[in-house]
Every structure is written in structure tokens, then in C-alpha cells.
Symmetry: C2
Subunit: 327 residues, 2 copies
């Protein structure tokens, strides 16, 4: 910035580069945080294990407003070139630790680099919980999906299975029933954790067949999903159901241990508790996107919501640096 | 939806159409709410006074990730065609009242139409407070801006004026000082409402010249802004300053009276107090975008944040309808 922030990166010790904002993660939240930080004339750096994040896995994205029917890889390229236009360095590496040093935040990477800055925006996303069954990985993006909101419209008049027993499984099943020809709702337990109203709606919906006490043993197919092998635990029966899609809605798994190591406050599910400006219990550390949680974060894992989180965190980091950095 | 939501629009009386979600406003929040509602197989309708909202006024938008350097009108077209792809009706009209009737929410328009639905998403945005001086309207988009974050990068190495005395004026001046060659900070009073740290940074920044007790009398130019006529109230002096841009950062003015008429809880500045899911004190009424306020809303008036709000409100409206609508 005009008041000398632009001097970064400068050398503090022999091996450390100093930026204004270290952005960890290369999905929509991280890349948007980079765009906004650069537009604020801050000096940001992006460190990402996977540039593009989950977008890279999406065959087609049709829920990012203004860019209908865009292949995930193409959307990643659009985000990345937008960021590169502002000359933000994007380092492909994994951040393994973050710690405080000489009034700065320093990130240590898997390749043993140390990068320091005045603020950190963690936009590391969250893994989707997996069933860990045969065929799951093979058919991801080819019938196996972890997001009904994102991929549901591709299954109009098809037969799909939804796996899970919580609110997201139930609302996904109800939503999919409005467009698919049939929905199997597969739950390993006898009772549902989801709201009663959703369970009742699902039970009375003629398109939804609920299979309780049932697990998926295998997802089968050829070039894409064709069926699932299910096992009814109470009856001891195994059978194969013909389905075109499998929606696995069994929750998210943010990197809780990593957050705890840094000293961030996390909730039960491992999401970082953020304030409305995406600041955290650690001064100068912000969390944007799917890894954020707590009462001020509406959990809705979409590209558009992650991107907005990145913009908010960048604005908050800008104000934080404005208030705290000596000129 | 599968459980008969798709029957809408149906006739309740002779003159009323019934939708699932009535979306009021055609900016990024409203259009994204429409996109997400339609993807959820709800039946939405958009009623907008100005399709595109403030995007229509932007000569170039470079802060919507993935679409660099896009003229405002083009961005509006991209959003609108994305929504039209899902066959969402967009009605150009002004909603003058919203009330409860037979378990539905009904919107009354300026052209005396009545449109009813199960839920309402208000995405009516917020007017920017104006100086109301000569030249202001004429040069809007041609040197006059109400958003430093949006238009700042266009003024690299230029001379600009920022008008206002609150946090947004001060942070705008500090940000602009990092790229402009000179910044006049013009404030009508003797003291600033902004945080002390910002005021001190501005006072010590060699690029910023603070003019207190000073008002802008006129914005002058030819095809674009060339200067401002300022009047120093304490000295009784008038002079003309050569500037390339004028950033008016004196606050927002949401339609408070309209919100109060409907019965919505508003804060001091007229923004509607929303919960984390953009629901309000009125069951079934959601507020997304610049008109939203309260502790769960980080006020940062950007296209990306408004769009995310629209997606969140649509998700919440979907769940609200799922829970409350009789099948």
C-alpha cells in the first residue's frame, strides 16, 4: 500500500519472504481473497495444494451466476487468470504449520519453505466424508456426487440413490425427488438424525423408497454408474439396485487437527469458529469458505458462497493491516 | 417440487398468481436467488424495478471472479441469460407493498398487479447517499463513484477526492492513497466519526490532504470529471481543485420506510436485521444483498457478496417451504 505495504516482499532472515496476506488454499475462496487483496494494493501470496480446489472435479458447473454450463477446469482457469492479471504469486505447495514469529504469521510448507506475512487467510476447504466402498472413487464425477445442490439437475428423470441420515441427506432426497424418477434413500441406521418434518415428507413421498439399516457395499458401472450393491443388515440380504447416480451426503471433514495445532477454535465438526468478518480467535488469522463454521457462518458449500467469503476475509484483512501495521 | 410445488402458479382468485418464491429485485442478489430457487425446482418469479441493479451503472466490473474487465451491462446480460435458461419469469415492475393473505405472501406492484407466493426474498438493494450537487449525476460512472473498492484501480496515478467522514470514507482514502498520486479527503465537519487509527493514518499519509469544514459545491468536467468546486466554511473561501475522480462515501440509504410498512425489523441505518440464513422477523420473508444488516451480515456491498446472499436466501427459502408447505 502507499504507506509502505508495497515494500513487501522483503527479506527478514535469509529464508523468509514477507507478504501482507498469506492465502492458504486455491479454491474459489482463496482465489477471490487473492483478487480482492491485490485490488486493495496489498501484497498477497497464494499457497495451494490443489489450485482450483473442488472445482477441478466438477465436469460441469451451472450454479456460478453469469457463467452457465462451464466445465470445472475451465472455471478454475478463469479464476486463476483473473488472479494472475494482478500478478499474485500462486505457489503449489502444502502448508503444514502456521505460527507467530516477530509479530508476523509464518507458514511452513511441505517442501520446507517458510513464508511470512501480516495476516493469514485460510481457505483450505473441507473434505467430503467418503463411504470408502469399491467404485466410489472411480465413479466420482461420473454418477457419484457429494453435492445434490450442485449436480442434481443432471439427473432429471433418472434413478438416484442418496446415502445418509442427516438433514443434508434428507433435503437432498426431497429435492432430487422433484426431478428424478425415483430416489432410494439409504441409511445405515434404524432412525434418522434429520428433522422430523423432513423424514415425514420423505416417508410420504411416492418417489422416495427408504432403505433403513442398509449399507452400500459397492458402486458398479461401466463408463459411469449403473447400480449399487446394498446390504440390509437386519435381514441379512444383499441385492443390486439399478441407479444412474449416487449422492453421498454424510457430512464434511475439515482438517480439524491442523486447525487445532495452530490454536484455532473449532466446533464439534472441525470447522473453525469465525466472526461475521471471518476473523477468528487468533488475531490476524481469517478463515473463508467451507472450512469456516460457527454461528456467523451459514454452511452452504457452493462456489459463489466460498468466493464471497474470500472477498469478505480480504476486506477484513485489509482493515486489520490498516489498523495494526506500523507505517 | 415433486410433492406438488410444481403445480404453481395456480389461480387462487381471479387476479392472483401463486409462486413458490417471490424475488423482489433484479441485481446480483435477486438474480442469484432466482437461479438457485429454480435449480431447487421451486417456482420463482423475479419482480424488478431495474434489472441488473447497480451493475447497470458500472462501465467496467473487474471484481467479479472469473469474469475480468466486464462492462456492467454485459455482466447483467450474463446473469439474466443464466436465469432465463431456467425459465424464470422476470417482471419489470415496482413492488409497493407486501402483505400476508390466506397463508401466502402477496406483493402488490406499482402497475396494480398482485403476485402471491409461499416465501419472499427481498433483494432490493440500497441507494447510495448522494451529495446532491451539480455535476454529480452527470458524471456518475465518468469519474464520480460511490465505491472505492470497485472503481479504485481505475485511478492509478490520478488525483482523486474522497468525500465523507466515516470509516468507509477513511478506509477508501487510505486505500486510494496506495495507488493514486494524490487524495483530497473532504469532510463537512471538524471531526471525524471514523476510527481514530484511520484518521491518524490519513493525517500522516503524505499523499492525503485533509480538507475539514469543507463542502463540495459542484463537480465540473467535460466528457468526464476534471475538478471540484469546494467551499471552506470556516474560512469562507471557495476554490477549484483539479481532480480526475470523486469518491462519494457518505453511506447507504436502504428503503427503510418500505421495510417498516411491511413490518420488517430494521436497524438504525434502515437495513433489515437478518439471521445467518437471511431470514427475518417475518416468517417466510428473507432479505439478501445490500439491504440486509444486523450482526449476522458483514456489510460489504459487492456483486460477489450480494450474489452469495441470494444463494443463501434461496437455500433457506427452499428449506422453509420444505418444512411448512402442505403436500
Amino acid at each position: 500500500m502507499g504507506f509502505k505495504l508495497k515494500a513487501a516482499p522483503m527479506q527478514v532472515t535469509g529464508k523468509e519472504e514477507v507478504y501482507d496476506v498469506i492465502i492458504v488454499g486455491g479454491g474459489p475462496a482463496g482465489l477471490t481473497a487473492a483478487l480482492y487483496s491485490a485490488r486493495y494494493e496489498l501484497k498477497p501470496v497464494v499457497i495451494a495444494k490443489l489450485v482450483g480446489g473442488y472445482m477441478t472435479e466438477a465436469p460441469v458447473v451451472d450454479d456460478y451466476p453469469g457463467l452457465p454450463d462451464t466445465p470445472g477446469e475451465e472455471l478454475v482457469n478463469k479464476f486463476v487468470s483473473h488472479v494472475r492479471k494482478y500478478n499474485v504469486p500462486i505457489i503449489q505447495d502444502e502448508v503444514v504449520n502456521i505460527y507467530r514469529k516477530n509479530g508476523l504469521w509464518c507458514a511452513e510448507t511441505a517442501s520446507e519453505k517458510t513464508i511470512c506475512g501480516y495476516a493469514v487467510i485460510l481457505a483450505v476447504g473441507s473434505e467430503k466424508r467418503k463411504l470408502n466402498v469399491k467404485g466410489e472413487e472411480e465413479f466420482t464425477g461420473r454418477g457419484v456426487s457429494y453435492c445434490a445442490t450442485c449436480d442434481g439437475p443432471l439427473f432429471k428423470d433418472k434413478v438416484v440413490a442418496v446415502v445418509g441420515g442427516g438433514n443434508s441427506a434428507l433435503t437432498s432426497a426431497l429435492y432430487l425427488a422433484s426431478l428424478a424418477s425415483k430416489v432410494y434413500l439409504i441409511h445405515r441406521r434404524d432412525t434418522f438424525k434429520a428433522f422430523k418434518v423432513y423424514v415425514e415428507k420423505a416417508a410420504s413421498n411416492p418417489k422416495i423408497e427408504i432403505l433403513k439399516n442398509t449399507i452400500i457395499k459397492e458402486i458398479v458401472g461401466d463408463t459411469r454408474v449403473r447400480g449399487i450393491v446394498v446390504y440390509d443388515k437386519s435381514r441379512g440380504e444383499e441385492k443390486t439396485l439399478t441407479v444412474d447416480g449416487v449422492f453421498i451426503e454424510i457430512g464434511l471433514k475439515p482438517p480439524k487437527e491442523f486447525f487445532e495445532k495452530i490454536g484455532l477454535e473449532v466446533d464439534e465438526s472441525g470447522h473453525v469458529v469465525v466472526k461475521v468478518d471471518r476473523s477468528t480467535n487468533l488475531e490476524g488469522v481469517f478463515v473463508a469458505g467451507d472450512a469456516a463454521g460457527g454461528p456467523y457462518k451459514y454452511r452452504f458449500e457452493q462456489i459463489i458462497t466460498a468466493a464471497a467469503d474470500g472477498a469478505i476475509a480480504a476486506d477484513a484483512a485489509f482493515k486489520y493491516i490498516l489498523s495494526t501495521k506500523k507505517t
